[in-house]
């Protein structure tokens, strides 16, 4: 999928661990892990809202569109 989740980058910038983020956004570790590893098929606005609030960022900082044709990646 050409949507890249940059959650780990934002977490590193804010020096926040997955456990801490999980507690603060009230999401389970497994769900956060699904999101971080790019396995998620969809993300709720409420989840995005909570993550952006805690990491003090914009949705665009977490989600990125990268065209497969330009990046040389094969589509899933």
């Amino acid at each position: 999928m050409p949507i890249i989740v940059n959650l780990d980058v934002m977490m590193a910038r804010r020096k926040m661990s997955l456990n801490e983020l999980s507690e603060r956004v009230d999401l389970t570790l497994s769900n956060l892990s699904i999101l971080k590893t790019g396995k998620a098929r969809a993300i709720r606005f409420s989840t995005l809202d909570a993550i952006c609030k805690v990491l003090d960022c914009q949705p665009g900082d977490i989600l990125e569109y990268r065209d497969n044709a330009h990046s040389g990646m094969t589509p899933e």
């Binding site: 999401l27 699904i34 396995k39 098929r41």
Partner: protein
């Protein structure tokens, strides 16, 4: 799950077990009778549940073996059908029903039901044809009286299996939504 639903589920489980045991006994008895009749042909007049196939046997042994093969195959398939139902009921999680396992089992039930229906229908047509050659096939009618019902049931179960497959996809999508 509500209390009444749980009760219905347990009752269905018990009924499925009773039917499965009954069908296993029937299939086993028919199999034993068949093997016994190979070595002692006198018993064809008094088979399982007073089934009398002596007239067919006396006219042509191969017709007897063919028709008995149909009876045996249908009985074994019916027992297998309820084995699949029991495995499904044992492993079915009512809290999270849409699993790949449940979908595969329901699809298997539809295929086995269709096989029973088609084989019963073919057997029924063959026995109807045999009556023109002087064979008395009336004692066998009860074994394939419900062939059309099985074919109809297979169609209904197949539709349910297809809905289940879509349900599994939706469940997976829901599980991967954070």
């Amino acid at each position: 799950m509500s209390k009444s639903n749980r009760f219905v589920f347990i009752a269905l489980n018990v009924v499925a077990w009773i039917i499965f045991v009954g069908l296993c006994i029937e299939a086993g008895a028919l199999l034993v009778n068949f093997v016994y009749s190979l070595f002692k042909p006198e018993v064809v007049g008094n088979l399982y549940e007073k089934l009398d196939l002596s007239q067919i046997y006396n006219i042509n042994q191969w017709v007897y073996f063919g028709l008995y093969g149909f009876i045996l195959f249908i009985s074994v398939l019916k027992a297998y059908l309820f084995y699949v139902v029991i495995v499904l009921l044992l492993k079915f999680d009512i809290e999270k029903p849409f699993s790949n396992f449940a979908s595969a089992q329901i699809t298997k039930i539809s295929y086995v039901t269709l096989a029973i229906g088609i084989i019963s229908f073919v057997a029924r047509q063959i026995t109807m044809g045999l009556t023109h050659y002087g064979f008395d096939t009336s004692p066998l009618d009860r074994f394939w009286a419900d062939s059309k019902a099985f074919i109809l049931m297979a169609a209904v179960v197949y539709v349910i299996a297809t809905i289940f497959k879509r349900g599994v996809e939706l469940q997976n999508e829901n599980d991967l939504t954070v």
